[in-house]
Structures are given as structure tokens and as C-alpha cells.
Symmetry: C2
Subunit: 346 residues, 2 copies
């Protein structure tokens, strides 16, 4: 079978790899029908995070079960499944309280000898617990597949940002970041009932997507200017919830400056060079901060009904589709930010 | 009239001061019937925080309205009022969203030329907005007065800790700190429906009060031992909510160690030497942190019905009562921790 492999900075190549076989009775084999490229794949691509040359890559995918191990009870051959971006066992203490991202036996696709998602097939551990089955998926059309795919990561992550910032009915929200996660955070905030959603974006095309997803105000500015515009628009109060979807210190500064006293920052941008937070400073403004990678497995069942009903549709984040053979082009486009997010079809 | 004054480290003296007079039409004069000594008064007493010699002191009090200015509409002579520990105007943007602690025109009693609470009378600015009237207070007995008095600060603060840690029905909670605030945080958590409440306390008398207020488990240990006992008792998961009610780095370490992945730390101990928090570390465990001084004015109306009904009764935190003339003895007792909290009766 074919799979995408990382061959050094800026170099993604399709290679022939062995077909996966079930090695433990709790595993399944899934034929990937849709995968996509994540902003965090670009860290490796750009050489910002280490990855051994030759590694398989990709953690956002859906597909059809081709084979199940003898212990698997919840999946059957032919089931269509959505895979969260983290493997989890579903039964450890953290999984039990819904923090599947932090599963004690959890790992990322493509590590510990497991397959990654940008390829033709995947061997899936903990098969009974690590994916979500979509019933009657054979009746779903291509558009719905594109609406489901973001559940694997970016839509669940945007939802997580909104939950960690305690977005609820009537909240005034600022989303910092107009990448796929930020745009999904807009949609998730709208779904949770936010009454006003600022999107900080200096890219007209992404801002337009944000508006489509529910942003009421586009802040086409950076730094202090962005903060001032948000403050001015909220009678100098600031927002109830700031959703930090970038991970840089600059994005944090906007979040800190835009959130009101007593408000909350939910952050899902993996921190890169963000300054430490003095507790005494937090004490002086009662701002809550909470964030992490999302427990997508826990969130997918919450979000799935609204995706299937068409109420929650972020399929437009996919601005391009490539075949698996042409995946290198998708990486290049995303690296150059000419595309928001790229689907890869094996 | 008489009032307590700070005359240098370890030296509280009663002095004769001028009777207050209304200086602005939005003010009232309140005759203090109950006041008490706060742990934060001890910072001045111990020389840990600066206070000019001769300053009046005290910010927890209740009393009867003696006079109202011509603009005052919500208070009348004879009303019994509970004063939150911060003066607030009730109309600024922060007050409007319930963050009265952060009122733009807010200040502490005893500052900016205003009177402090440990004295016979107090001139009260923003009289229409800065206090809560208790109806039919003449029908309330001495016990109820002692149950109401903690609303001025410590009970509101314990409630704030629980809210900032998102304590809700079924939460598993750990309270770090067995002072008056920690004990009130236990009672507030119970009121919010916590299913299990650990109280970290190495003082048998305070632990007994904690049990009376709703603590289900006493952790008579410090540091790593306290964390281990809490983890062992929660199947190695940790608690949903850690309420940090001390303000030291040691208390923070217990809170950090005891809270589960995805849980929340609510902190109300004024930070003294607490280490800065690396954002990347937060990202690795999805722990939320939020805290500050409490917006008591906002909370008192929420809590008052349960206090008046007898459902919420922390009057036992008052382990001693002194007359205003003997206030120095009360400070000494609290400084030596031989009493939990001392009532001062003018």
C-alpha cells in the first residue's frame, strides 16, 4: 500500500509500505477514505518540531473498517469511522472523565509503531474505544463527508477552545487566529449561543469564511490595535471569552488584552514562546485560563448530530483537495498559506 | 466616636476620632453593630504589607443606617446593611457584569479618606449601590447575626473560590487552607452540590469545623504527602476542583498536584511568592486556573436566602468575641492562630 512519509524538512513523499495486519485481538484495520493535512503537520514539514526521516505522517482521517480482531465488539467490517487525532483506550481514569486526549495509554497516530493517517490503510489499536462509528454512512454524500472530516481534529479543537473559555448562551467572544482551528472556534462559539463573535483576521478570504461561520465582527488588525478595536466595540469592557487559536506570544497578548475582568481565555494553540503567567497578575483581574489539545473522541458524539443535521457545517475550511499521490502539493500550499486546509484522498 | 487604628507592627489601638458626617449627597452614615478581624488585616499587623501609622483598619462589618444623603434612594434610616469588603459604585462596566470587586471607582474601606469598619460608625460612599439591605433584620437573633457577618468577606470569598474552580453538583473538591476562608469554601462547595470534599488541615479543631461544614475527608498532611493521600483516595485521578485558600507556593503545589487532568484551580489566597505558571505546562494537563478577591456585593444576594433559611451557617468560624475596646486582644489571638476568627462589637 501507499503512505505519505516525512523525508526531511519540506519533503513529503509517497512510499510503498507493507499492508497493515492485525497484531493484537483488540485491533482493527481501517481503509482510509478521507484524510487531511493539519497545521501541526507543518511543524515537522518546516523543521520546527523533530520527526525522524522516513516517518509516516498525518492524524486526521476517516475510513471504512476492513477487518476486526477477535476481541473487537463495537466495530464490524464495513462500518464507517471517524478517528480522533489521538489514540485512546477509553477506559483509563482520564478517559472515564472525558479527557481522552490524556489517555494513560494514549499516543499519536504514526508513533509507537502505529500507522499514521495519510495513507491507504491504518492499523487501529483499542478499536472498540478509539473511534466513533457514523451509522448509515453509505447514505451520506460527498459534501457531508467534508463536513464530518473536521471532527477528527480542528472542529473538536475549536469546540474545546470555546468550552475551556466557558462560552455559553449570550457570551461575547473574540477568536484570535484565522486558521482552520480559529474558524472552527467561531462556528463552535456560534453553536454554543455566543451573541457576538469577533474574529481577529487580516486575511480577507479567511475573514469571509469566519463571517459565514458566525463571526459578527472582523478585527483586521494586530497587537494593540486589535485590542483597542475590541475594547472600543465593547464599551471598554472587553469580551467574556477570548479563544487563543495560534500559540504565539502575540496571540496571547491579544487574548489577554481583549478579555474582560472576570472573563476566560481558552487556548488551543500549542504554546510556542508564550511568556509565563504571574499568578499575582491573574489575581488582579480574575481572568481564567484553560487550554490543551482537545479530547476529540469525547467531543465527536456531542457535535456529530449537529453536523449530520447540517446545522454545524465547516466543510468550507477545505479549500483544496489532492490525491494521496499529490500530497506534497497540499503541504506546499498550506505551508505558503495559499490554502486554509487541504483534503487528501487516497 | 471610637475607632481601631494601626499604630505600627503588632500595635492596634482604639483612638477617639471625629464622628463621620455626610460629605456628598450619595453617602450614608452607618452605625456599626458587628465587625470582625480578617486574615488580611494581619498582613498590616505583622508588617507584611505597608499601612501608614494612624490608619483606621477593618473592612468586614454590618450595621444600621443612621443618616442618608439627599440623593440616596435605596436606603433609609434604620435599615440593616451588610457591607462587602470593597466599596463599589454599582454602575461601571465591571459592576454591571457582576465584577464589583473590580469597580472602576472601587476602593477599600479605610482608604481615600473613607472610614474603615472596626469602629463605631462609617461614612459610606455610593450608598445606593455598595451595601445589601437585610429586610426585617430586627426580627433576627444573635446567632443569625453571626451567620450573616461572614458574607462581608470570607463566605463570599469561599463561594468565589468554588465558582472560579467550577464546583457544581457532583464535583470532587479539595480545599487547601483551614483558615476562615478555607472553611467557608468547604461550606460553599457543599452548597453547590459537591459530592466529596477533601479539606487539607493539620489542626484538629479546624478540621472538626470543616467536617461540620461539609468536608467528607480530612487530609492531615502537607506537601507531597497531602497530594498522595488525595490521589490515593481518588483512584489516582485527583479532584475536579482544587480551592487554593492560602496564597503560598506550598498551597499552590498541593492544588496543582491534587487537581485532575481537565480539572480547575480556584484561588483566593492573595499570592505571596507563588511561582509563575508556564503556559506550556498548563497545556499539558488542561487544568484551568482562575482567582481573585471576591465580588462580595454580587454574591451576597445569591447566598443571603440560604443564610437566612439556616441552610448555610458558618457562624462557628467565630471562635471569640471582643468589645471594640479589647480589639488588640483579638488581633493577638488571630496572629497566634489560637482563634479562627474574632468578632468585634462596638
Amino acid at each position: 500500500m501507499k503512505a505519505a512519509t516525512f523525508q526531511g524538512k519540506g519533503n513529503i513523499q509517497i512510499r510503498e509500505v507493507p499492508d497493515p495486519v492485525i497484531q493484537n485481538p483488540d485491533e482493527a484495520i481501517v481503509r482510509v477514505t478521507y484524510s487531511c493535512i493539519c497545521g501541526s503537520d507543518l511543524w515537522f514539514y518546516r523543521g520546527q518540531s523533530p520527526l525522524p526521516e522516513g516517518s509516516r505522517i498525518g492524524h486526521e482521517f476517516m475510513g471504512v473498517v476492513e477487518k476486526v480482531g477477535s476481541d473487537v465488539k463495537n466495530l464490524k467490517v464495513g462500518d464507517f469511522v471517524i478517528a480522533p487525532f489521538v489514540i485512546s483506550d477509553g477506559v483509563c481514569p482520564e478517559c472515564t472523565v472525558g479527557e481522552t486526549r490524556f489517555c494513560r495509554h494514549g499516543m499519536f497516530w504514526g508513533t509507537n509503531g502505529y500507522d499514521a493517517g495519510q495513507g491507504e490503510k491504518v492499523r487501529m489499536p483499542f478499536a472498540d474505544h478509539t473511534v466513533v462509528v457514523v451509522p448509515d454512512a453509505d447514505k451520506l454524500d460527498e459534501h457531508m463527508m467534508r463536513a464530518l472530516l473536521p471532527l477528527t481534529d480542528v472542529l473538536s479543537t475549536g469546540h474545546h477552545a470555546a468550552l475551556d473559555a466557558h462560552v455559553t448562551a449570550g457570551s461575547v467572544v473574540a477568536v484570535i487566529g484565522d486558521g482552520a482551528v480559529g474558524l472552527c472556534a467561531v462556528a463552535a462559539s456560534k453553536r454554543l449561543g455566543a451573541s457576538r463573535i469577533f474574529l481577529v483576521s487580516t486575511h480577507e478570504d479567511r475573514a469571509a469564511l469566519g463571517k459565514k461561520f458566525g463571526a459578527t465582527d472582523i478585527i483586521a488588525a494586530r497587537g494593540e490595535d486589535a485590542i483597542k478595536q475590541i475594547k472600543d466595540a465593547t464599551e471598554d469592557l472587553g469580551v467574556d471569552a477570548a479563544l487563543e487559536c495560534v500559540g504565539t506570544d502575540g496571540a496571547w497578548q491579544i487574548a489577554n488584552g481583549a478579555v474582560r475582568i472576570g472573563g476566560n481565555i481558552g487556548f488551543v494553540g500549542v504554546p510556542h514562546g508564550v511568556a509565563d503567567i504571574p499568578v499575582a497578575k491573574l489575581f488582579n483581574n480574575n481572568v481564567g485560563i484553560k487550554g490543551s489539545g482537545a479530547s476529540a473522541l469525547h467531543y465527536i458524539p456531542q457535535l456529530l448530530p449537529d453536523v449530520l443535521s447540517g446545522k454545524l457545517d465547516v466543510s468550507d475550511i477545505f479549500t483544496k483537495e489532492v490525491s494521496l499521490d499529490n500530497i506534497a502539493e497540499g503541504y506546499k500550499n498550506m505551508d505558503e498559506r495559499t490554502e486554509v486546509k487541504v483534503i487528501v484522498r487516497p
